[in-house]
Symmetry: C2
Subunit: 146 residues, 2 copies
């Protein structure tokens, strides 16, 4: 999660919402992908940190599924990213801050917990929550000119 928080900080420096993510192989003890939000830079509404690292890890493995791998992300994933996590068959999801406005895991449509979800990873929320939330609060306060 330390790497994901660093990616979130880098995203903020690029003017993107500060969310960072990492794909980690816990058996090989290897980071397969790390990135932050790039929606504005790439003009891509799907370029949330989670989507970018999942796509990057799939490319590096030549496989559209990531069984056995862990996703670390600094903010609770939105419904779109929850769908990506399910489609990619991520084994464990670790996230930082909850997102009452846009989250889709333990808030809103709870995409992964819905009986129709084809795959639900193990889910662990609140990892480094304060630091992840502080980053977001600081970013939005600065944009509002607080």
């Amino acid at each position: 999660m330390v790497l994901a928080l660093d990616q979130a900080r880098q995203a903020a420096q690029r003017g993107e919402t500060p969310v960072g993510a990492v794909i980690y192989d816990p058996v090989a003890d290897k980071v397969l992908a790390q990135d932050g939000n790039r929606v504005r830079e790439l003009h891509d509404p799907t370029a949330h940190a989670e989507g970018l690292v999942i796509r990057a890890a799939c490319q590096s493995l030549g496989n559209e599924r990531l069984q056995g791998l862990d996703l670390y992300v600094t903010l609770e994933p939105c419904p779109m990213c929850a769908g990506v996590i399910s489609a990619a068959r991520i084994s464990r999801l670790y996230y930082g801050a909850s997102d009452p406005k846009s989250g889709g895991i333990e808030q809103g449509p709870r995409v992964l917990s819905h009986p129709q979800s084809h795959h639900k990873p193990e889910i662990y929320g609140g990892i480094c929550e304060a630091e992840a939330a502080d980053l977001l609060r600081g970013f939005f306060a600065e944009r509002r000119g607080d």
Copy 2:
């Protein structure tokens, strides 16, 4: 929808689930993007037809939002694609066959109708439904060796 059905047929020929999609600008009467499912070809769990055409249209316009544009897709979008449609601010969604197993619009977590959805397009289902459903049925029957 005729173009989307053609893309679905081409996807089947590539061994992909036969779903096709088109982004259309109804004011300029112009097709901005058309594609079919490429999950296996690209090793990308997000490469559903809807995601590919939305990303392509965003690239061609240099904008992560597609206000005013229509999405035609042969199958009811899944929760992941419903999230992409909301994030991209698509104005009108026209889809073909319903998907009781994996759909996320009028089935399952109903991502766009959830009060937490940031954007809900106009939604029109059942467009060329029989033809879209026949394509899917034929594809899966062939794979099962019926």
